[in-house]
Symmetry: C2
Subunit: 336 residues, 2 copies
C-alpha cells in the first residue's frame, strides 16, 4: 500500500480507524474487534482481561498529572471498562539519550504513586535507549492484566440497546484542553487541570448496583466523547442522542476551547467514563456514581435510540439538532 | 539525581544495571528481582508468566528477520526462559509521522507470521503517532502472557549450583553482528544472518527430559553471552567457567567481529539460550537439544563452580584464563 503515516492517524478519530483497518488487513484479519478497550481471555480454567497502551504525551508534566500517572491510569481504566479488577502492570520505557535522570526519577515516582493508588502491582519492565533526536525524551508503554469482577456483565461496546440511558461520569475535555493549552504556551486560567484518575473503584460500585443492567462502559480518551459515542453507536448498531445542555463542561474549559478553537466533544478525557445503562436502573447507578470521588459530577447526558443506527445526534442548547461525527481532519498528536 | 541517560545505559551491560538500580530506587524499591526475564504471578488459583519488551532495532530489516519478527520472538523467549508456554501477546506501536504504510504492512505481516509460528495469539494493540523527527520510523512493544509448563522447575536465574553443566544452544553473536554490520554498511559475507527464532518448543523438550534437574534458562540478548553469564553468576552466587574453544561461533561471525572490532561474547543473540543443568542429566538434555531445530548446534561450554562467586572465568583457547566481565563502556544502541 502506498501512503504514509500522518498525525491524523494518531488522533483517535476517523483517520485512526482507517489506519487500524489497514493494519488489521496487513495482519490477515487476525485482531481484536477494533472498538474494545481490553481483551477478555481464557486462562487455565479462569479468565483474565488484558490491555496495552503507549504514552507519548507532550509536555511530560502538566497541571493535574504527568506521563507517569497517565500511563498507569490509562491502562487501569481500559481494564475497568471491561469490568475487570486491575492486578498487574508492566512498564516499557523508551528513553532518548540525554534525557535527565532527575525527570526520569520524578516520572517513576509518579508511576509508583499512581500504581499504589490504583492497587496494581508493577511486575515486569524493560528500558531501551535511542540516540538523541531519535525519540522525544520518554515514551512509556503499560500493559495491564486483571480479572473480571464477580457479577460483572459482559460489558462490550456492542451491547448498547435502544432505551439505554447514557451517563457521563463528570466534566468533559479537562485533560485535552490542559495538555493542548500547556503546549501552546497559553496563559490559561489556574483551574485547568487534567482529570487523570483511576476509575476501577467507580466501576466496582456501578457493577455492584447495576449488575447485568450495565451494558456498556467506555472511557472517552483520544478522540473525546464525540468519537467514542460514534464508536459505541456503530459497534452496537443503535443511534445515540445527546442533550448538549446536559453535558458537564467546566467554564474554564469552555473558555479555553473557545480561545484555542477546539470543540470539547473531541478532546481527550483521562478520568471519565461513559455508561449505557438499562433505564430501570439508571437512577440508582447515577446515585452511586455521585457519591463516589471520581463520579461526583456524573450526569445523564442522553440515551440510545433505534433511529439513525450508528450515528450520534446532538440536541443543541438552542433547540436545534445535528449529527455529531467522529473527529476527522484535526490532528491532535501526543495528547496521551 | 543529576546526570543524563546515555547510550551505554541501553546496551544491556553494566551501565544498564546502574540505570536499573536508579530506577528501582526511584520507584521505592518496588520492582522485580532485576535479573529475571519474566514474572511468575498468581491469578485466580492458577499461575501466569508475564514479560514485556520494547524493540527499537535499527535497521528495521536485516538478513534473517526484521523488527516485527524480533518483537514476537523476543517476548516469546522471555516467557520460555521461565518455563512458560506462551499464549497471548499484546502489540504497542509508536509510529513516526511520514513512515511508509508499505513498510508498516511488511512489518505487521512479519508479526503475524512470527506469532503464528510461535503459537501465540495477538490479543490487544495500541498505536500512537508522533511528529516527524520525534521518533525513528517505528518502535514496537510486546507484552506476553503464558502459563507454566506442566512439570517445569522454578527456573530462576538464582538457581545455578556448583557442578551444574553450562550449555549454549548454538552459535553466538549472529544477531548482533548482522545488525551492526548492516548499520555500518559493511560488505559482509552472505551467510551472516540474525538467529531470531522462538525457543519455547526447545524449552518444552528440555523440561520434559530434565524436569527439576534444569536449574537456569536465559537467552543472552542485549549484552551477549558475556553479560548474561555475569548476571547468572551474581544472582546465583556461583562462579562460572567457560571454555572459549567450546563456544560455537560461525567463521563468518568471527571474521566480521574482527573487522568491526567487536567481541562476540558481548553481541546479542535472539534465538539462543544458556542452560545450567545438574550434571547427571546434562548428556540427555544436550542430546534432546541437538535433535531439535533451534538447538542442533548446542554445545557444553562450561560449568558452575564454587570458586570466584559472582564472576565468570574464561579458559582461553591458548591455555590461559581471564575474567570475562559484563559489557561496559561500549554503547551498542538499538540492537533489538
Amino acid at each position: 500500500m502506498a501512503g504514509r503515516v500522518t498525525l491524523a492517524h494518531g488522533s483517535g478519530g476517523r483517520a485512526s480507524h482507517e489506519l487500524l483497518a489497514f493494519m488489521v488487513q496487513a495482519m490477515g484479519g487476525e485482531a481484536l474487534p477494533p472498538f474494545e478497550d481490553a481483551a477478555l481471555l481464557p486462562l487455565a480454567g479462569s479468565r483474565l482481561v488484558v490491555s496495552t497502551d503507549s504514552f507519548v504525551v507532550d509536555p511530560l508534566f502538566f497541571p493535574g498529572g504527568d506521563i507517569g500517572a497517565l500511563a498507569v491510569h490509562g491502562t487501569v481504566n481500559d481494564l475497568a471498562m471491561r469490568g475487570a479488577r486491575p492486578l498487574y502492570l508492566t512498564l516499557g520505557l523508551i528513553l532518548e539519550e540525554g534525557f535527565g535522570l532527575d525527570l526520569l526519577g520524578r516520572i517513576l515516582a509518579s508511576v509508583r504513586e499512581a500504581a499504589a493508588g490504583s492497587g496494581v502491582r508493577l511486575v515486569a519492565g524493560d528500558t531501551k535507549v535511542v540516540p538523541a533526536g531519535k525519540a522525544d525524551k520518554i515514551f512509556i508503554n503499560t500493559t495491564g492484566i486483571g480479572v473480571p469482577l464477580s457479577g460483572a456483565p459482559p460489558l462490550s461496546c456492542a451491547d448498547a440497546r435502544p432505551g439505554d440511558v447514557l451517563i457521563l461520569s463528570g466534566s468533559m475535555a479537562d485533560h485535552g484542553v490542559t495538555v493542548l493549552g500547556q503546549r501552546q504556551g497559553f496563559a490559561l486560567s489556574g483551574d485547568l487541570r487534567s482529570d487523570t484518575a483511576p476509575l476501577h473503584r467507580l466501576v466496582e460500585e456501578m457493577v455492584a448496583v447495576a449488575g447485568q443492567a450495565l451494558h456498556v462502559l467506555r472511557d472517552p480518551t483520544r478522540g473525546g466523547v464525540g468519537t467514542t459515542l460514534n464508536e459505541l453507536a456503530q459497534a452496537s448498531g443503535v443511534g445515540i442522542e445527546v442533550e448538549e445542555g446536559a453535558v458537564p463542561v467546566r467554564e474554564s474549559v469552555r473558555g479555553a476551547c473557545e480561545l484555542l478553537g477546539l470543540d470539547p466533544f473531541y478532546l481527550a478525557n483521562e478520568g471519565k467514563l461513559l455508561a449505557l445503562v438499562a433505564p430501570e436502573r439508571a437512577g440508582e447507578v447515577l446515585a452511586v456514581m455521585r457519591r463516589s470521588e471520581t463520579g461526583a459530577e456524573a450526569a445523564i447526558i442522553g440515551r440510545a435510540v433505534a433511529e439513525h443506527p450508528g450515528r450520534v445526534m446532538l440536541r443543541t442548547a438552542v433547540g436545534g439538532s445535528r449529527f455529531l461525527d467522529m473527529l476527522h481532519g484535526e490532528p491532535l498528536p501526543r495528547i496521551c
